[in-house]
């Protein structure tokens, strides 16, 4: 999560899920950005349909179990108020049959609002991975989010700095001043756009390699 939009949350979440699945981990990816889901664009999976049988069985994409409202919307916008976001979260959490997983990666919407409060309230085992860009405008919100999560005692895995253009260290310093782990930077990758929806290409980008390095660090830290 990030609080801020457009920092690469969805792309990083999806790439991490794909990398874990390739390494034979049992992994789920759940797109919780209900009004504006995008992970299906990365996975080219908007046309899939989950099987409904005593609940929702998420379809498998490239070895990962994948759930998104995009399956149900046929390309339509889904305007929702906060209480409805909460209802959908609880319904989909209750009905989706993930089975045994090593990790469930949840792609959060921007903003510090209903779904974030609901994750804190209902999903007590969640751990938070925070994404920022080097820009002041992104970090303004990310700083506040980090302070909030610390204040609430929520477990933060660390902070990723995405879309770097140069070798500045100011975000690293800021993150460490806040007492959190700087997990690493990911460069702006001009080839990324053409790889969206093409999973083999995507996993061969410099972006995926950098996400992979951060992912190994996280897995290492957790074991």
């Amino acid at each position: 999560m990030s609080g801020k939009g457009g920092v690469g949350k969805s792309l990083i979440a999806t790439t991490m899920a794909l990398l874990l699945a390739r390494d034979k981990f049992r992994v789920g990816l759940f797109d919780v950005d209900f009004t504006s889901p995008t992970t299906h664009v990365v996975l080219n999976a908007g046309g899939l349909k989950p099987i409904e049988e005593k609940g929702i069985v998420p379809p498998e994409v490239y070895g990962l179990k994948y759930m998104s409202l995009a399956f149900y919307l046929g390309g339509r916008a889904l305007p929702l108020r906060g209480q409805e976001l909460t209802n959908i979260l609880l319904e989909t959490l209750a009905y989706t049959i993930w089975g045994k997983l090593d990790a469930l990666i949840v792609d959060m919407p921007p903003g510090i609002s209903d779904l974030m409060l609901d994750m804190l309230k209902y999903v007590r085992r969640a751990e938070y991975l925070i994404v920022t860009t080097p820009s002041k405008m992104a970090f303004e919100t990310v700083r506040k989010l980090i302070m909030l999560l610390k204040d609430l005692g929520a477990p933060v895995l660390g902070v990723i700095e995405n879309m770097r253009f140069s070798d500045t260290e100011h975000i690293k310093r800021e993150v460490e001043t806040l007492g959190e782990r700087y997990l690493g930077g990911i460069g702006y990758d001009m080839r990324l756009e053409e790889s969206l929806g093409r999973l083999d290409n995507l996993l061969n980008t410099r972006f995926a390699a950098e996400v992979g390095a951060i992912l190994r660090k996280i897995v290492y830290l957790k074991t």
Binding site: G74, R76, L78, P79, L80, E91
Partner: protein, 132 residues
């Protein structure tokens, strides 16, 4: 929904009521199912008939449906889910995740996508009648 498990739960709840109310025999039971609840009423009816026994053996089970209603937040207009002209596939999606109606339904009076969908969810026992 798991109609057999639901039938068992209904039978057991009715038995508890019969016990509490000291009924010798249960005559009739009204079960209400929200219309958005995914329950196959035929399977449920069949399962209940198979499972009922003891004090409940002779009871008549009546299954009612609670309607779901849309209320527009922009203009206040109310209209029934039932009356909405939607393809079967979309109805199924809305049955499953009622909030997805915001992608498919508009207020017939003012065109707004900003409405409440209330009622039509859950399953409960509305009444148990019998001889004490």
């Amino acid at each position: 929904m798991h109609e057999w498990a639901l039938a068992e739960a209904i039978i057991s709840a009715v038995s508890d009521v019969a016990e509490r109310e000291k009924l010798r025999e249960v005559n009739s039971v009204v079960v209400v199912i929200g219309e958005l609840q995914q329950v196959d009423r035929n399977i449920l009816r069949f399962a209940i008939e198979q499972l009922k026994q003891g004090k409940l053996a002779g009871a008549k089970f009546i299954i009612r449906t609670e309607r779901a209603v849309f209320t527009c937040r922009a203009c206040g207009y109310k209209w029934p889910f039932r009356g909405t002209n939607l393809p079967e596939e979309v109805r199924e999606i809305i049955h499953f995740i009622p909030e997805t109606s915001h992608a498919y339904v508009r207020c017939p009076a003012c065109g707004s996508p900003d409405f409440d969908l209330s009622g039509g969810r859950g399953v409960w026992i509305a009444s148990v009648r019998g001889e004490g």
